[in-house]
């Protein structure tokens, strides 16, 4: 259900971006950035996107999802370790004096759309 709401928001956001850029072409690729600790399941998001896409401007578009890592910052050893899932202690020194940064973004990174130059080949003189 959560991913369905996210997929819905993605499609609305794509619509706004196209409108803002004055583009009307077919969308063939949508790129998202879904942080590893965002709580969003990417498989479910793909499923929801495919379910909602037909009849919308993203029909037939491929969904590309980046999954940026979070960073474990250790106050004991000072090391910053990229992490793919939540940790309760520093992977380097095992200290529990840590804080977790990032990895929670939900971003629409880019939209690839067929522009006029792609749909009609350059004229030859």
């Amino acid at each position: 259900m959560h991913e369905l709401a996210i997929a819905e928001a993605v499609i609305e956001q794509v619509q706004r971006e196209l409108h803002r850029a004055g583009q009307r072409g077919r969308v063939h690729r949508v790129e998202l950035s879904i942080g590893r600790l965002s709580g969003v399941n990417c498989d479910s998001l793909r499923f929801a996107f495919d379910l909602l896409a037909p009849g919308t401007i993203v029909e037939g578009a491929t969904l590309h999802i980046n999954q940026p890592t979070a960073t474990c910052v250790c106050r004991a050893c000072g090391k910053r370790t990229p992490i793919e899932e939540l940790v309760v202690s520093c992977p380097a020194c095992n200290s529990e004096q840590i804080s977790i940064e990032g990895g929670r973004d939900l971003l629409l990174q880019s939209v690839d759309v067929e522009g006029p130059c792609e749909s009609s080949p350059p004229r030859k003189f």
């Binding site: 259900m1 996210i6 928001a9 956001q13 709580g39 977790i100 690839d112």
Partner: protein, 226 residues
């Protein structure tokens, strides 16, 4: 051609949430989003706080549930204005739902507005409603591993309340473990222990809320996406 957007997927929700927050701040209302699993004791927790405040702080409650009006009826029975949102299947409240509820609710004289979210430790974490404060309610019967299992919601809150602590003697619940996990995930969060039906621990939460109320109308602290 490629359109580089680099925008929050939930930007539309966040924009409505910001409007909700401005409206509430302008009306001098401190808004508290209460999150937790089904059966964690959210409604009982809110009821206990309302009873504790008596008439000293004027409160109102927005209840979010998939179906039914049971919770709003419980709040109204205390003489506190309540409004029920039925999400009809959605597993969380979003900012537009709250905006619609705010249009229905008479905020005149209200100082404190509770929003009880749909029972769920996952999805509500992502949706800013326009609240000033976020409280996560976790009952001892749910287990002491929940902060690590559902980090996003615990990271997004200003306070974590462990409820049903009167059941602790009958349950293998390690309070120091969950407290350590919460501190690691969210060092700034205030932590409380409450047995709401007995009123135990309620004054401490009430005091914390009252402090936020009195720190000034434009500076209730803020919640939303961290």
């Amino acid at each position: 051609m490629r359109i580089v957007a680099a925008k929050k997927i939930l930007k539309a929700n966040d924009q409505v949430a910001a409007k909700n927050r401005d409206l509430l701040s302008g009306a001098g209302v401190c808004c508290v989003n209460v999150l937790g699993s089904p059966g964690s004791g959210k409604t009982t927790f809110i009821e206990a706080l309302l009873k504790h405040f008596g008439g000293r702080i004027r409160a109102a409650v927005i209840e979010g549930d998939i179906a039914g009006t049971i919770d709003a009826e419980r709040i109204e029975a205390l003489g506190v204005p309540a409004l029920q949102i039925n999400t009809e299947g959605a597993c969380h409240l979003d900012a537009p739902m709250v905006a619609a509820a705010l249009r229905e609710l008479d905020l005149n004289g209200v100082q404190l507005l509770f929003i009880e979210n749909v029972g769920n430790l996952v999805c509500p974490a992502s949706f800013d409603l326009g609240e000033h404060l976020r409280i996560v309610v976790l009952s001892v019967s749910e287990g002491d591993d929940k902060a690590v299992k559902y980090p996003a919601v615990f990271q997004s809150a200003q306070a974590v309340c462990i409820t049903k602590t009167d059941l602790s003697p009958y349950i293998d619940f390690n309070l120091s473990r969950i407290m350590a996990d919460v501190r690691r995930l969210n060092p700034g969060a205030s932590c409380f222990q409450v047995a709401a039906l007995r009123g135990e621990g309620v004054p401490a939460v009430a005091e914390w809320l009252a402090e936020h109320l009195h720190t000034g109308r434009s500076d209730f602290g803020h919640s939303g996406q961290k």
